[in-house]
Symmetry: C2
Subunit: 335 residues, 2 copies
């Protein structure tokens, strides 16, 4: 088939972004490379404006059972999580809303309240936007904040010997999503934790700000496309590899995996819709990074180390196994 | 019917925005009131970050015959026009794209090129964004730039006695839109001008920047929802009225009106999708404002004056007639 006639559903999101990117003139003055979690523009010698846009579409991003309030809040959280990964406080939220004609005023109120809740939870305000008619519910959020350039935690910067760490235990949202769509039961308290992780995701903003302040972090990304994908992105942008020797699976996800005959590692690595931070830390500054996260009530989990080999592997039963470059989006394209 | 069950299609866009706005906590630090064409956040005592988000949906914003390239470009122009009205240079463009699964790679390339063309035409760069699956083609654009706060041309600020002026002749896009959908013919050169004004809109950025630099302008807005609506918005935010005594209808729109039995004033006042600037000017600084626009190759047309009476009227055959508070969006809701 001629290259140009291949369709988006077949190409997948990442290829689409690649195609678009080639059409854009390069903004040479940017202090952050294209393709990192956020974009940035210099304000003066020291400070940068940090910008992010990420869109929620109900058809693909709002699982059955999630309310409009939760969907609107999640659209903000998705964006805040990227600011968290860079260590930047969001200040202002803009929202372009696409709404089907038959939505009620009550629905609109719920969306407005969800947006406001998401913004205020992280110290930002909704300052403007736009609405229009669309077939789906579209919540296109953009964020603005400022940062000291030298403190931004980029995807590039990891060095062989650094410690790889994450801000939480993995697997809950992917277990929760499967609970919502597949026929499998777990105890109600476990179900609640898992489904809550899908409907009420949290961004690790305090952890990100504190880590950026510590100066101990060499690279950072969030895990919204899955831990495996995040590691591959960090690896690519930093030109390094990783050995993961301790995969932190949440107890509830582990229980779900056992009960429902699912591979726990699959949940932890390839799930996505997960908003933990994945960072690399200078080994001699590890205790500072740990203390920084603890000082804001969080916990930093050591999961592996950075290598110079450009391979991304896990140690499983004493053997090296590759971690594949796939994540949640890819899954959906294959489905 | 209970208030909450009324649907969006019935309420119209402006009511929806009002409902949303009440749900948002007020960002007290904003140097620009909510509801102006752009949002702003202080950077320091003097400078502000200027932000804007506006979304294009193919179903409602892309008339039959307009290409994807043109649609993507227009999504940028819509946003640049608001920056132009405030006198702010856009620096960075972010785009969230919603794409149907069956779009081809060729389509994606066209969209990417259209976005880049729109940005580069006005000195900005596409620096980031996001893509996802949607039923419609969604181009949600957000813009960033910086400005000196005291130079921003807001919607508020018009004073009784000020001159009302516009940057161009009106009626072409609404005549062009009707040509595309209704059964009426005009000479081919006229048709080309009218249809081109729909497919290839221009933002008055140079004029806006130059007017802001002149210091002669007391208030400003663009005419994207129609001249009538713009006057009502300026009137509301500035707490003034207007007497319009010279409505500048483009010759091509006039010819279309005559040929096709349409009211030319209707085209000029209530059309929309028009990206001229509507400004008020201190009377003693009129020649400075005129010179500022001429210095960048444009022309400023005097159309009336600001009054203290809070009525918005036009002089027609020597008689005062009210200009109604309706515009393009309202039209569509009624259709």
């Amino acid at each position: 088939m001629p290259r140009k006639s291949r369709v988006v559903g077949e190409l997948g999101e990442r290829r689409v972004i690649e195609v678009l990117r080639k059409r854009f003139d390069v903004f040479s003055g940017s202090p952050v490379p294209f393709g990192d979690d956020v974009a940035a523009v210099s304000i003066d010698g020291e400070r940068v404006a940090v910008l992010k846009a990420d869109m929620l579409v109900d058809r693909t991003d709002v699982p059955c059972g999630m309310s409009l309030w939760q969907g609107a809040r999640k659209a903000v959280i998705m964006n805040v999580s990227d600011f968290a990964a860079k260590g930047v406080q969001p200040l202002a939220v803009l929202v372009s809303l696409g709404l089907p004609r038959m939505m009620t005023m009550g629905d609109v109120e719920d969306i407005g309240e969800g947006l406001n809740a998401g913004a205020r939870e992280y110290g930002a305000y909704v300052v403007g936007g736009d609405t229009g008619e669309a077939s789906d519910v579209i919540v296109a959020v953009s964020l603005y904040g400022t940062a000291v350039w030298s403190r931004l935690m980029l995807r590039s910067g990891a060095k062989a010997g650094d410690v790889v760490a994450v801000t939480g235990l993995f697997g809950k949202p992917s277990a929760g999503l499967r609970l919502l769509t597949e026929n499998c039961t777990v105890p109600s308290d476990v179900r609640e934790v898992l489904v809550d992780s899908v409907f009420m995701p949290k961004a690790r903003l305090r952890e990100g700000l504190s880590l950026a302040g510590s100066g101990a972090v060499t690279s950072s990304i969030d895990s919204s496309d899955g831990l495996a994908w995040s590691l591959h992105e960090l690896g690519k942008m930093s030109r390094v590899g990783f050995v993961i020797d301790c995969l932190p699976l949440a107890a509830e996800a582990e229980l779900f995996a056992k009960r429902c005959g699912v591979d726990g590692l699959e949940l932890a690595l390839y799930g996505g819709e997960e908003y933990e931070l994945v960072v690399t830390v200078k080994p001699e500054r590890w205790s500072d990074a740990e203390a920084a996260v603890q000082s804001v009530g969080g916990k930093l989990f050591r999961v592996g180390r950075v290598t110079g080999e450009k391979q991304i592997v896990q140690i499983l039963d004493g053997k090296k196994q590759p971690i594949e470059a796939r994540g949640w989006e890819h899954f959906k394209s294959k489905a």
